[in-house]
């Protein structure tokens, strides 16, 4: 029954997780298709409308939608700071060919009224804005008042992240949709567009299309077309789903392996205790196959029953959980789909693993001759262990010798129990290590690497005189310039679309740090890559990196990699600010600044920043930290708590199982001890002493296993967005050891209770 449950949990998780992943993928695909999400995004500085026909003529392009997008700031009542937003145009008088929106409340905009807008639903809800409300927003330096006529969702904004930030946060980034003509007027884009959306015809060559798009838009300041796979929101959704997928692949096999092991033990015990019946059946003329089939059927019944229950549990669990995820991903509808393959896999894997356990036992059934089966088994031979007795004779009483001899006589069996418990220890160690890793990521990111209070982003690269303006503000204690330059980093075939950050050589607020958290000096030449980026590009210090700048003159630079920096959030790369500016031939430019401020003047500073026309956005580190924690605790990262719970349950299960098996094997010896006058405690010592030794030896072994397992699990939890390091801290080991010892004590107590209750008379009557 218990084994069936373990199988059921394993299969249930498999069915549930794969069903979840399949459903999410299907739902996402359906959502993208229904709202015609573009497959290629091509940002450009300012391209005339007539380019639309040239783009549409590219071989493999099925539809083109030119649009205007721009950065905006929205004033919201509950924030001191204006919130960054993206303004996106919708065509006048027709539905967009690509990147349609899903209206959730209110009505569509009327192109005749230039002050009507749609607002992203998640953002509106975060600030309690409803259709009919008016909001103030700053676009291109001009402040205007708008009428919110409807709320909408869109597949391109499942996750929204403010420019220059990494963490998606509904409350701190909004999307405004308004008519093309109104938005074009605001951004001086009459008769022009600054982003082209393209969809591809079946079988089109995506890379070739992007190259053609780049050729057409290049004269107009095209910064490089990128595919849907690189689109920010889609990238995050993909990360989350693949995180779930990893869990779907990784966790169920652990359960099934444990189940196979348990099944082996139980059937083995059963065959031992039914040896007389087996002998009798064989004596009556049943063949090995017939007797074996009897036990094998039992194995199959347990496995099949468990798998079936697991499938049902998986369907029910999947249905419940998918609702949570649909809400989490903000999908407007749900395509619930089970993966039929997962049923087949679940059932066949559970039957296979159970059979593997069963077959091992059947060997011993076949080996029994009728005569031998019907005799009581001979006492186990301990003669080879006698030597221990001689050397330790003087120090040990008889019960201690029994414990030691049993361990030394059956090293394989003891090793099995030991490895089992060590695995439990390893699981616990690695899960606790991972918890520490998550904390470390937050700490390193927000307290060590970034020591600023406020990050200011300018609308575009400015003269560094702007920095002096910031320094003059009352309450600002330190200002550090930064220049972020969008670029494609390329090493051979490996590419990364990201940002190169130019930092001053004596950076104090945002720094490049090595693995010992010491400052990495940014040399005159060269670029410093974060570990995640160096790994992604498979590049090492000393190699040369190709940097295709996507701003200004868009130079292609060859820059040597000078060092690898520790970073657990995002994939940053750093250069010396002046070197970067020289390479771009744009001296003394900055695109933003990190500020240290005196909290007492915070409100004044925010107000002053809000009035600076050059400021595109202001973000507070404290808010970013909260958003990051929320992200790690709600998405794929949340699975760590489920896995942690499972790890502890498995640990306890293994320890308890080891204790139960030891008890089952020794119940007769223990009863004999009780009969000849041993107290309950003295008799239990023989068993629990063994358990204690096995557990204690398992702890260091488990610690070593856990050390290596931690790296694997940490890698599994790490995503493109954040990395989880394996943090080895004595406290993790101590706590894991406490968990295992706790499981040992609890198991010991449960078994001791059975020893105390054992009926001496019936225990004696059963032969081995």
């Amino acid at each position: 029954m218990a084994i069936g449950m373990v199988i059921a949990v394993g299969v249930g998780m498999l069915v549930m997780m794969t069903g979840l992943v399949t459903s999410l993928n299907e739902t996402r695909a359906a959502y993208y298709e229904r709202y015609r999400l573009a497959e290629v995004f091509a940002p450009v500085t300012r391209a005339p409308d007539r380019m639309e026909t040239r783009l549409a003529a590219i071989d493999g392009v099925s539809a083109v939608e030119p649009r205007v997008v721009g950065a905006a700031l929205i004033d919201v009542a509950d924030f001191d700071l204006p919130v960054q937003a993206q303004a996106v145009s919708l065509p006048d008088f027709r539905k967009p060919r690509l990147n349609d929106v899903f209206l959730t409340d209110g009505r569509m905009i009327d192109s005749d009224h230039t002050d009507e807008i749609l607002l992203l639903e998640a953002f509106a809800q975060a600030h309690d804005i409803r259709p009919g409300d008016r909001i103030d927003a700053t676009m291109n330096g001009a402040r205007r008042s708008f009428q919110v006529v409807g709320l909408a969702q869109a597949p391109e904004f499942l996750y929204t992240t403010a420019p220059g930030e990494l963490i998606p946060d509904d409350a701190r980034f909004g999307v405004i949709w308004m008519s093309r003509s109104a938005l074009a007027a605001a951004y001086d884009m009459d008769g022009a567009f600054n982003e082209a959306l393209l969809s591809l015809s079946r079988g089109a060559n995506e890379a070739a299309v992007m190259a053609a798009v780049d050729r057409i838009l290049d004269p107009y300041g095209g910064t490089g077309a990128y595919p849907l796979a690189d689109q920010a929101s889609n990238q995050l959704v993909s990360e989350e789903i693949s995180g779930l997928e990893a869990a779907a692949v990784g966790v169920p096999p652990i359960f099934l392996a444990v189940a196979a092991f348990l099944l082996y033990i139980v059937i083995n015990r059963m065959v031992q205790s039914e040896r007389e019946e087996i002998g009798l059946m064989k004596a009556f003329g049943y063949t090995n196959g017939e007797v074996g089939a009897h036990y094998f059927k039992l194995v199959l019944a347990i496995a099949f029953g468990g798998a079936l229950a697991g499938c049902l549990m998986g369907i029910a669990g999947g249905r419940a959980l998918i609702q949570v995820y649909v809400a989490y991903f903000k999908f407007p509808f749900l395509v619930f789909q089970l993966d039929p393959a997962s049923f087949v896999t679940g059932v066949s894997v559970s039957i296979l693993s159970a059979s593997a356990g069963g077959l091992l036992v059947l060997r011993s059934v076949f080996a029994l001759t009728p005569a031998a089966a019907m005799r009581a088994p001979a006492p186990a031979d301990y003669s080879r262990t006698g030597a221990i007795g001689h050397t330790l004779n003087r120090f040990l009483d008889q019960p201690s010798r029994m414990v030691l001899r049993r361990i030394t006589r059956q090293p394989a069996r003891m090793a099995g129990a030991m490895i089992g418990i060590a695995c439990g220890m390893a699981l616990s160690v690695s899960m606790i290590t991972i918890y520490a890793g998550f904390d470390r990521t937050i700490d390193l990111t927000f307290n060590v690497i970034d020591r600023s209070d406020v990050t200011v982003t300018f609308t575009h690269a400015r003269s560094d005189a702007t920095i002096f303006n910031l320094r003059r503000m009352k309450g600002v204690t330190f200002v550090e310039p930064v220049r972020h330059v969008p670029a494609v980093l390329r090493n051979g075939l490996a590419t990364h679309r990201g940002v190169v950050s130019g930092l001053p050589p004596d950076a104090r607020l945002s720094r490049a740090l090595d693995s010992d958290l010491a400052d990495i000096p940014l040399k005159n030449v060269g670029i410093v890559l974060s570990t995640a980026l160096a790994t992604k590009l498979s590049i090492r210090p000393g190699d040369t990196l190709t940097v295709e700048v996507r701003e200004g003159r868009q130079p292609v630079l060859q820059i040597p990699v000078t060092a690898v920096a520790e970073s657990l959030l995002g994939s940053p790369s750093y250069m010396d600010l002046d070197t970067l500016n020289r390479a771009l031939r744009e001296p003394n430019r900055v695109s933003g600044a990190y500020l240290s401020i005196d909290e007492a003047h915070a409100t004044d500073i925010y107000a002053a920043l809000q009035d600076m026309p050059t400021v595109a956005g202001v973000s507070l580190k404290s808010q970013a930290e909260v958003a990051f924690e929320t992200l790690m605790n709600t998405g794929a990262g949340a699975i760590r708590y489920v896995m942690g719970a499972i790890a502890f349950v498995i640990t306890f299960g293994i320890v308890y199982n080891a204790a139960r098996i030891a008890y089952a094997e020794r119940s007769r010896d223990l009863a004999s001890l009780r009969v000849i006058g041993f107290t309950k405690g003295e008799a239990a010592f023989v068993l629990l002493g063994e358990l204690a030794i096995v557990t204690l030896v398992a702890l260091p072994i488990g610690s070593v296993l856990g050390y290596y397992l931690s790296f694997g699990i940490a890698a599994g939890f790490s995503s493109e967005l954040y990395q989880i390091p394996a943090i080895f801290d004595p406290a993790s080991y101590g706590f894991a050891a406490m968990v295992v010892l706790g499981a040992g004590v609890a198991s010991g107590w449960l078994v001791k209770r059975d020893i105390d209750r054992a009926d001496l008379v019936s225990a004696l009557k059963t032969r081995e």
């Binding site: 006492p379 031979d381 007795g389 010798r401 029994m402 009780r674 006058g677 309950k680 008379v761």
Partner: protein
């Protein structure tokens, strides 16, 4: 007259409840005098082992009192029963119940380490004729030898009473006789009361007293005035 090692008054033992209840003992009254060899005889299920288990402190009566000397076993706590078994009782079972992980001597030491007034382990093993095989493990001993180790283990504590449940049940006649001889020696040399449960009627001939069981009660008690030695018994 010798005093009684055991006195039972109306011992009843019922297994199960209601319609499925089985009456293993139906009000047994019995006196077993000190220093005798007593054989409890009867077919399977007649209640002889149940009685042995109750007066041996392994089981409790459903009703009635069982006295060891002047102490009422029915009123003892589990702790007191353990103490009673440890200090006064030696057990010998049909399947020996030795610890496979301990040598012959160590199996005996298991008891001598906790007993109040034990003999030397080697002395006990010498009594059963196993002086030469003290360092052998049970797996290296024959059935008869294992049973003799079990007896040595039972007598090494200088027990007041020795309980033997089918001690020769798994042995051939030669080995069985040797075992019975040991039991007789123990009775004579140590003065222990020896209770033997068996369904081999011939063994009754070596007893001072034979108690015949049937249907959960005592059918008759026969006192032997002339005892046979184990060698003289028909097997």
């Amino acid at each position: 007259m010798a005093r009684n090692t055991f006195t039972t008054k109306g011992i009843t033992k019922v297994y199960g409840e209601g319609r499925s209840a089985v009456h293993a003992l139906r009000g047994v009254d019995l006196d077993i005098p000190e220093g005798e060899i007593v054989v409890l005889l009867g077919p399977s299920g007649s209640g002889k082992s149940t009685l042995l288990n109750i007066i041996g402190g392994l089981d409790r009566a459903t009703k009635g009192d069982a006295y060891f000397q002047d102490r009422n076993l029915s009123e003892m706590t589990d702790k007191q029963l353990t103490r009673y078994r440890r200090d006064h009782v030696g057990f010998v079972f049909q399947f020996y119940n030795l610890m496979p992980s301990l040598t012959a001597r160590e199996n005996v030491e298991l008891v001598t380490e906790i007993a109040r007034d034990p003999m030397e382990p080697d002395e006990a093993l010498a009594m059963v004729g196993l002086r030469e095989r003290v360092d052998h493990f049970p797996a290296q001993l024959s059935g008869g030898e294992q049973q003799r180790v079990a007896i040595a283990r039972a007598v090494a504590k200088n027990p007041t009473v020795l309980f033997c449940d089918e001690p020769t049940g798994a042995l051939d006649s030669t080995t069985g006789r040797a075992v019975l001889n040991v039991l007789k020696d123990v009775n004579e040399k140590l003065g222990a009361t020896v209770l033997i449960v068996t369904h081999a009627a011939s063994q009754a001939a070596m007893a001072d007293r034979v108690i015949h069981f049937a249907d959960g009660g005592i059918r008759e008690v026969v006192v032997n005035h002339t005892k046979l030695t184990p060698e003289e018994i028909d097997w």
